[in-house]
């Protein structure tokens, strides 16, 4: 019999409906994989009973001939940034340790309503701030991948959705939720040889997701195939009156309209994404990607995004500024941890609580954000960054007058070892150089695996589309997926 944990979301959905296996068998198989993968530290909380409950409900509905949800019989992982009713939600922080939401986030609620079951809450960088999963209060997530040099160096699964990427690559779940503020879906997907899409800003409701930088935060799916991403994104998207930035638009039928025929489409190759010193294996994969899209019928043109070099510094003003405001809510009064030194007053309690509850990277970003928003510096930093952000968005608009989508690398390198790049926060920030610009412009962007580097580690390509044109992004992703033939998977050592 097929190994159920090797199946894709589409395989599970269709096989369950066809009666090839029961939903309970699927849930049990994934629960078993989760239970023996502690070495990856991908989950903060495991919820095998939730996965079984959803599976049993799907099996009962099928037996009774009732209509089945789009994800009936499919167990998934939930990034621990989504509030889940009755299940601890921490954002990988000490601050929210023990926080058990009394409500469900809109996106997770939609997934459960469609029949999906929860395998557990996935580890991440603390408050989604990081690119390597080394800022979680609950320990580093380890990538299932290893370099083929015979060494056993523990590699970063990327971040911030590193629990999601590690768990999917290791077949602990067929798909998971992620969130992306500056690349937190795409970079971990690239590091682990899976796919993930950040939709247009406003497609997925932010209600019930622990906020990092509200003008940038977007939820999206992560899975092994483009089709699986389309299936999940359809369920996760849609208007929500509880999020004032939610787009009041119908959700397209992305899965039904998937097509890898790109005739009539023009792909732009932004020349600023090929800086001197770009990793030669990444550059070579990018060239192969261009050929794959040409082979799928697309025309290829060079385009210019002249403000690209300013995207990262813009992001590292705007994101910390918004974070300093969003994280002001952690005051030790309404939820989460409280640290009350003997004889302390209210102000002392705030300061002690926040000193104990936040990790170093979170504190660093709150303080940067506080500084750039403070009196006398607001215009020089924050207003200037908002203006440059407008120019970055305009670059994309002008490029899209000449093309329908952009193809770029996802990350500047394959996964690095845990511990590398830690001494210098700036070196870590540079990991997001290719993903941040699309975030600043609110555009849909997807990572797909393209191949392995010389060390045997996955490297990926990124597709950026016009606002609301997830379909073209997914279609180009499918064209690459079909031609790359990426079937590599990590050898099980955990």
């Amino acid at each position: 019999m097929t190994n159920l944990t090797d199946l894709t979301v589409a395989d599970i959905r269709d096989g369950f409906r066809a009666g090839d296996f029961s939903a309970r068998e699927v849930a049990e198989a994934f629960n078993a994989n989760v239970a023996v993968a502690k070495a990856l530290n991908a989950f903060i909380v495991e919820t095998p009973e939730k996965a079984l409950d959803a599976a049993d409900a799907a099996d009962r509905a099928k037996a009774a001939g009732e209509p089945l949800g789009a994800l009936a019989g499919v167990p998934i992982g939930m990034k621990d940034l989504f509030c889940t009713q009755g299940v601890q939600t921490t954002a990988a922080s000490h601050m929210l340790e023990g926080f058990v939401p009394t409500y469900e986030s809109t996106v997770s609620g939609k997934l459960w309503a469609a029949g999906a079951g929860m395998l557990g809450k996935l580890n991440l960088d603390q408050f989604a701030m990081g690119s390597s999963n080394q800022t979680s209060y609950y320990g580093n997530v380890i990538s299932p991948w290893r370099r083929k040099d015979g060494g056993n160096a523990a590699l970063a699964p990327g971040g911030s959705s590193g629990g999601s990427s590690s768990a999917i690559a290791a077949r602990l779940c067929p798909a998971a939720t992620g969130t992306d503020t500056g690349g937190s879906i795409r970079q971990p997907a690239a590091f682990t040889g899976i796919s993930g899409i950040k939709p247009t800003y406003g497609r997925c409701s932010r209600w019930g997701i622990v906020a990092f930088a509200s003008s940038l935060d977007q939820a999206g799916p992560m899975a092994r195939t483009v089709r699986d991403n389309a299936i999940l994104l359809e369920v996760m998207s849609g208007f929500d009156p509880k999020d004032s930035t939610s787009l009041d638009l119908p959700v397209p039928q992305w899965e039904a309209n998937l097509s890898s025929d790109l005739r009539g489409k023009t792909v732009g190759i932004p020349k600023e994404y090929r800086p001197d010193g770009l990793n030669s294996e990444i550059a070579a994969l990018w060239d192969r990607g261009i050929e794959w899209l040409r082979d799928a019928g697309a025309k290829v043109v060079e385009v210019s995004l002249p403000h690209t070099q300013y995207a990262l510094p813009t992001y590292y003003i705007i994101a910390p500024a918004e974070a300093s405001s969003n994280l002001a809510r952690y005051d030790g009064v309404r939820y989460g941890q409280r640290d009350l030194p003997d004889g302390a007053g209210l102000q002392d309690m705030y300061a002690a609580t926040r000193a104990a509850g936040f990790g170093p990277e979170v504190k660093r970003r709150i303080m940067i954000g506080t500084y750039v928003l403070s009196a006398g510096f607001y215009d020089a930093y924050y207003t200037q960054a908002q203006k440059v952000r407008a120019l970055i968005a305009r670059d994309f608009e002008q490029a899209f007058e000449q093309c329908d989508l952009l193809l770029t690398p996802t990350a500047p390198s394959a996964a690095f070892a845990l511990g590398e790049k830690q001494a210098d926060p700036l070196a870590m920030y540079l990991n997001d150089v290719f993903t941040v610009p699309a975030s600043l412009a609110g555009l849909p962007a997807m990572a797909v695996p393209g191949g392995l580097d010389a060390a045997g580690l996955p490297i990926g390509l990124q597709i950026i589309g016009k606002a609301l044109d997830e379909q073209t992004v997914l279609n180009a992703g499918l064209a690459i997926e079909e031609r790359a033939g990426f079937v590599a998977r990590p050898n099980r050592w955990w």
Binding site: G98, V100, P101, T102, Y103, T200, Y201, G202, S215, L216, P241, S244, T245, D248, Y310, P313, T314, Y316, I317, S324, A328, V333, R334, Y335, G336, R338, G345, L346, M349, Y350, A351, A352, R354, A355, F358, K363, R364, M367, I368, T370, Y371, V372, S374, F377, A380, Y381, T383, Q384, A385, Q386, K387, A390, L391, A393, D424, P425, L426, L440, A441, G442
Partner: protein, 95 residues
Amino acid sequence: MSIDLQTVKKIASLSRISVTEAEAEAMVPELNNILGWVEQLGEVDVTGVEPMTAVIPNHQRLRDDVVTDGNVREKVLANAPQAEHGFFAVPKVIE
């Protein structure tokens, strides 16, 4: 613009994060490094550019002014570190 130890302590205080002397000292070069790097934005010509506030065109919606939620005091207080008599409890703030 470079920041000194006093400024770091002031930012920490504004952020309501208590820091030790050693932590504040360690943060001086770290924050200067990051701020020095983002200052390159100053070289961008932004003449006539409006600051971006909404990334995707959208409109602010109004809804009917009616009660849609409420009467969930126990749920609101469920995660409070300290709740008393149906309220959030904090250290004494008035002498």
